[in-house]
């Protein structure tokens, strides 16, 4: 496993990073988990229930036993179950609050059966829903986290509202999962390359990058991008694709994660590429690791490679291996710095 010193954040992987590998004809869940262990991509293991588990959220007893045994045998630790609130599952109407709570509760039960101590999902941001979640997590003795993911940031209206709701309910089990996509310093070069290679006009790529780097609000950015792209004659398809550059990659200063750390239950190490120097070219991992160490966070970080949405130029296994090497190197440095500063 990629081990880190006691008291420091622990590393792991979400099988979501291996989305393309899952499509190989020789795929099996067991084979994938064994490969993760062979490549030392634990000790933490996170899965997306609806991706990795056929029949989710139903978990039969035999499967639960073999899953837990496999993880133990492999030296892996179940860290978080990535769940989903499928509000728009029905064609005739949205799910109600009660239906939504029941939908998440079933998934939390499935997660517990498999040995996961934490579930994560987007939620309905109402007092009633959050109170319901607090009851579920108390009954099951589990943690629950909402991801803070681009286009949100630690103080976007949505997250500020959730922080208020969580404060009002005061459950120690409810918290947040920072996702590095919210705190980037550049559009991923691997994404720009993929757009270029697919024939996206250069002037549109330049426009969206310029808008991305500007100090305006999200609505202002969308407005400006749409207006100027239209003036350049962009097709609706191209506008839609490049719009995602603005929504999927946020520009928050990574040091601001410090404000959220007291309520963090798990961390998503989102990344897009590891370059020849072993660095992630669009995300300042140095600052993020420093924030985690200074806050005394000793939970897990799940490496989450999302570049598979637009490239298969490298394997998720190899990239996560590179991500672990990067984070471990930075954690050692951060620990030394913190030690020198007397923080521990």
């Amino acid at each position: 496993m990629t081990t880190t010193q006691p008291g420091l954040p622990k590393l792991g992987i979400t099988l979501f990073s291996l989305t393309l590998e899952m499509r190989r004809p020789d795929y099996s869940l067991e084979g994938m988990i064994r490969r993760v262990a062979e490549l030392d991509l634990g000790p933490g293991l996170e899965v997306v229930g609806f991706q990795s588990l056929r029949g989710w959220p139903n978990v039969d007893d035999d499967f639960a036993t073999s899953f837990r045994d496999l993880l133990e045998e492999s030296g892996l630790v179940p860290t978080a179950m990535s769940m989903n609130l499928d509000l728009a599952r029905r064609r005739d109407r949205r799910m109600s609050e009660d239906e939504g709570l029941e939908y998440l509760e079933r998934q939390m039960e499935g997660a517990k059966k498999l040995g996961f101590p934490i579930g994560k999902s987007a939620i309905l941001s109402t007092p009633r829903f959050v109170e319901g979640l607090a009851r579920i997590t108390e009954r099951l003795d589990m943690g629950f986290g909402v991801e803070v993911h681009s286009p949100d940031s630690v103080d976007s209206p949505h997250v500020a509202h959730l922080r208020e709701l969580f404060d009002d309910v005061g459950s120690p089990q409810l918290g947040f999962v920072p996702d590095f996509s919210a705190s980037m310093h550049d559009v991923p070069p691997s994404l720009v390359k993929a757009h270029r290679e697919s024939g996206m006009p250069e002037e549109l790529i330049a426009l969206v990058a310029d808008v991305w780097h500007s100090d305006s609000t999200m609505p202002e950015k969308f407005g400006r991008f749409h207006e100027e792209a239209k003036a350049l004659g962009a097709s609706p398809g191209d506008v839609g694709k490049l719009n995602m550059v603005l929504t999927m990659h946020g520009r928050m200063d990574p040091r601001r994660w410090a404000e959220l750390m007291p309520q963090v239950v798990h961390v998503h190490g989102k990344f897009y590429w590891i370059d020849e120097d072993g660095n992630e070219p669009s995300i300042d991992h140095d600052s993020i690791m420093n924030v985690l160490v200074e806050a005394g966070y000793d939970g897990y970080v799940s490496s989450e490679w999302e570049g598979h949405a637009y490239t298969d130029a490298a394997s998720g296994y190899d990239l996560c291996r590179g991500h672990h090497d990067l984070m471990r190197r930075l954690l050692v440095q951060a620990a030394e710095t913190a030690g020198a500063a007397g923080a521990h």
């Binding site: 393309l20 795929y27 989710w56 989903n84 499928d86 728009a88 599952r89 064609r91 949205r94 598979h308």
Partner: protein, 128 residues
Amino acid sequence: MLTDQVIADGSLHGEADAFTFGLRMPWYRALPLSSLEGLEVRIDGSAVPSDELRLSLEGSTYGLADLPPLHDRWWYVADAAEVRAPKPGGITEGRHELDVTIALRIPYIVESGHPLVMRERCVKVLSS
């Protein structure tokens, strides 16, 4: 990436009055059948009426019009649905261009009151 796999390689088969192929979802996790909002199939440039298409998954067969109420029945991400497209006279043995567009409603991504609908097109030349 996943869009390239919407038409399963090597899956085109001819029958007397139809052809079949394997359809994989351009998404990374299981979705309820009610999420499949549209399917358009053209073979060698000629469209098969969508209401004549039939999908088979886990032993059951559906028309597109059967899907809206099926929010408790699941299409597991790893499974290819078999699509049967009627075509009078079937198709000749040999290479054909299959052009498939699939529209999937993503039930957990709701922006400004609207769920995300992914519309992906895959075109492949396959030998039957």
